[in-house]
């Protein structure tokens, strides 16, 4: 997927004007927030588990070389193969090589963000192999040739009419006069269509929520069961995983699993949590004959030891975007690449470069809600600030913003002039806004006031009030 992040401002304006998207956002936001809150409230140990989860991940990252090597040895002992890939291009070649090795024509896919990150679908298609997404949300967006808009609800931006229209266009062999009375009819049609694909596929590709060093396992978490069908029925199972998915033991995974579903969908546990370890064993009646893990670095190892190391604790639960006021009005596509919301604003510049994604960390109100709900306690706002600093240092911001920031800096370093200027401004705004107490429109701030009112100041600055009240001893 080619990044379109520099266009964030334009994308965001388009998103605000998109009525269908706004309807979907209205529906989705409270759904995720309420369910998470209820699940967290029902587990008194949640806070303590967050702390333990963070320690486990920090420990793993500090010793990542050891755990990766131990895990790879255990994969080999179980009869699987690890393909180490430094870049996205390496990973694409590795996947293609495995597919060609078995003469694959159709490849089914479970949901995987790494697969989006390396753009495997387009690549396979260009090489004559048909990829079929099997997660319901991924399937419908594949039919519409668009990227996911959310990391766990990839099609949340679509409404029922969109599903129907796309199914009618894609499933041409079905009677044209069939009706979709209920959501259930949509689901049933998808189930039947995809069942045939599962059975026809030569290779199944899944992601991995975790890798377990102790056992050489990969773990997927789903509610539909599509990931399990993807990895059970074809001859070959390919796991796409990035290096930071590593965990030492099954016990460590148990801690993080207690956090994951609650933070994501508000379930206590997802329906299917599946640990895969190597290919079919002697006597087994089913399961793949080959098990491969394509292990991707793609810039992550370089984040270790930097102010962005904490981001590697992310377990992709999506809580940060579900609680983000910016994501809540612009949705996921505006972010222009694979990872949206606060986690995307931090991760995207690290993976594709601050020059291509440097604007994303500005898409924040710094309200701090993302950090407060993040199960891995990732200091997201702090890291966005680091990116803003880097962007400024490298003169990557728009000239208008840079000029005004420079002006503000000049002013802020001269307290006398600063107080004079702010007093004049507060007085003027206070007088002008006396009647309504707020501004519906302001010159030079049209963008800001388009979506909300600006409360009028009371005519006094903080400093003068402080001086007044400080003197009177209050």
């Amino acid at each position: 997927m080619l990044p379109n992040s520099p266009a964030f401002k334009k994308n965001a304006s388009a998103a605000l004007a998109d009525a269908g998207l706004q309807r979907a956002l209205e529906r989705t936001k409270p759904h995720f927030q309420h369910r998470r809150a209820a699940a967290v409230a029902a587990l008194p140990e949640f806070e303590e588990l967050r702390e333990i989860g963070r320690e486990i991940k920090d420990h793993t990252l500090e010793n990542l070389d050891f755990y990766l090597e131990t895990w790879a040895e255990n994969v080999a002992k179980a009869g699987g193969e690890v393909h180490w890939c430094a870049t996205a291009a390496d990973a694409r070649e590795a996947v293609l090589g495995i597919c060609r090795g078995v003469g694959a024509k159709v490849v089914t896919k479970g949901k995987s963000m790494i697969s989006e990150e390396i753009g495997i679908n387009d690549f396979l298609e260009a090489n004559g192999i048909t990829p079929v997404e099997t997660d319901l949300g991924e399937y419908i967006i594949q039919l519409g040739h668009e990227p996911p808009s959310h990391i766990i609800a990839p099609a949340f931006h679509l409404n029922r009419e969109d599903w129907e229209a796309r199914f009618r266009a894609a499933h041409r062999d079905l009677p044209a006069d069939r009706v979709f009375h209920e959501r259930h009819d949509i689901l049933t049609e998808a189930r039947d269509e995809l069942r045939q694909r599962f059975l026809a596929a030569d290779v199944g590709i899944t992601g991995a929520n975790f890798l377990i060093a102790e056992t050489g396992s990969s773990v997927i978490v789903t509610n539909e069961g599509n990931g399990d069908l993807t990895q059970t029925l074809p001859k070959v199972h390919i796991v796409l995983a990035s290096i930071e998915k590593m965990l030492p033991t099954l016990e460590d995974a148990s801690v993080l699993l207690r956090l994951l579903a609650r933070s994501a969908t508000g379930q206590d546990f997802s329906v299917y949590t599946t640990f895969s370890t190597g290919p079919r064993r002697p006597g087994d009646l089913d399961g793949p004959e080959q098990y491969h893990v394509v292990l991707l670095d793609n810039g992550r190892s370089a984040m270790l030891g930097t102010e962005f190391q904490d981001m590697l604790r992310c377990i992709r639960c999506s809580a940060c975007m579900n609680h983000c006021p910016v994501f809540g009005v612009v949705g996921g596509h505006a972010y222009g690449w694979v990872y949206p919301g606060p986690m995307g604003a931090v991760l995207t510049p690290a993976l594709i470069g601050v020059d291509k994604a440097g604007h994303l960390p500005n898409a924040s109100t710094f309200c701090g809600r993302c950090e407060s709900v993040c199960p891995m306690k990732i200091p997201l706002p702090g890291m966005m600030r680091h990116w803003r600093e880097r962007e400024f240092e490298r003169h990557l911001g728009p000239p208008f913003v840079r000029r005004n920031l420079a002006l503000w800096a000049w002013l802020a370093r001269r307290p006398g002039i600063y107080r004079l200027a702010t007093r004049a401004a507060a007085l003027a705004l206070g007088l002008a806004g006396r009647r309504h107490g707020r501004f519906r429109r302001l010159p030079l701030a049209g963008g800001w006031t388009a979506g909300r009112d600006l409360p009028a100041p009371e005519g006094e600055t903080f400093f003068s009030r402080y001086r007044r009240q400080g003197r009177s001893g209050r």
Binding site: L64, I186, F198, G287
Partner: protein
């Protein structure tokens, strides 16, 4: 090639070379004793309540549970369940000895074949290795006697579970698995596939509204055998 490159970048970023032997020994020790994190208090209950918690948790996730006094009653209970749900009486039954030993012939209307499931199978019967009360989760490790397709391809999955195999937390289920399959060699207790299953398949991808039966079973029915009269030591 890439392997060395990735490992080298990790070490360079962390500002160190390969780990010294004492640190490696410490990490190997941690893997060998796999310490538990925090186990939530919700499953630390006396046995009957722990089993009740399991049943409640399954039902919360849209599964159903039928409690039976002994194994002999299973074929009858399954036949009645299928009749109640208006489901066909052709069954694919997992080749587990516990399932094969059931008195199926007492219910001649049930037509069964054993083995893995195919896409044409509608109802399947699988034996559960263990279950976790904490979230109403079944543990289904793959084995020649427990094919994975039985958990996936059928529309209705019926599970045979002994109450004595219900534990409180995931960690206790891992211990059962370690004890059952340990063959002395490191890390080889792990079967090819271990599914932790909580309720029937579902999706909320269409307008964030829950629909059951996405790709896996639409119904998950657990036949629970009350073989846990004597309280076990484990709480």
């Amino acid at each position: 090639m890439s392997r060395e490159a990735v490992l080298a970048t990790i070490r360079r970023s962390l500002g160190r070379g390969p780990l010294p032997p004492d640190q490696t020994a410490m990490l190997l020790g941690r893997l060998a004793c796999h310490p538990r994190g925090l186990i939530p208090a919700r499953s630390r209950l006396p046995r009957p309540e722990q089993i009740a918690l399991f049943v409640r948790s399954v039902e919360k996730e849209y599964g159903t549970v039928e409690r039976l006094a002994d194994l002999a009653a299973v074929p009858g209970a399954i036949a009645d369940y299928l009749a109640r749900q208006n489901l066909p009486t052709d069954l694919v039954v997992g080749p587990h000895p516990e399932l094969l030993a059931l008195p199926w012939s007492e219910r001649p209307l049930l037509r069964l074949h054993t083995g893995r499931a195919e896409a044409t199978d509608i109802v399947g019967v699988q034996q559960a290795f263990a279950a976790v009360a904490e979230t109403g989760t079944l543990m289904l490790p793959s084995a020649p006697v427990r094919p994975t397709t039985l958990n996936l391809l059928v529309e209705t999955e019926i599970i045979l579970l002994r109450a004595s195999r219900i534990v409180g937390a995931y960690e206790e289920a891992w211990d059962l698995l370690r004890a059952a399959q340990q063959d002395g060699e490191t890390a080889r207790f792990m079967p090819r596939n271990v599914m932790l299953v909580t309720g029937p398949s579902r999706s909320a991808d269409i307008e964030q509204t829950l629909e059951l039966g996405a790709h896996g079973p639409r119904r998950l029915h657990i036949v629970l055998i009350e073989d846990d009269a004597a309280p076990s030591g484990e709480t």
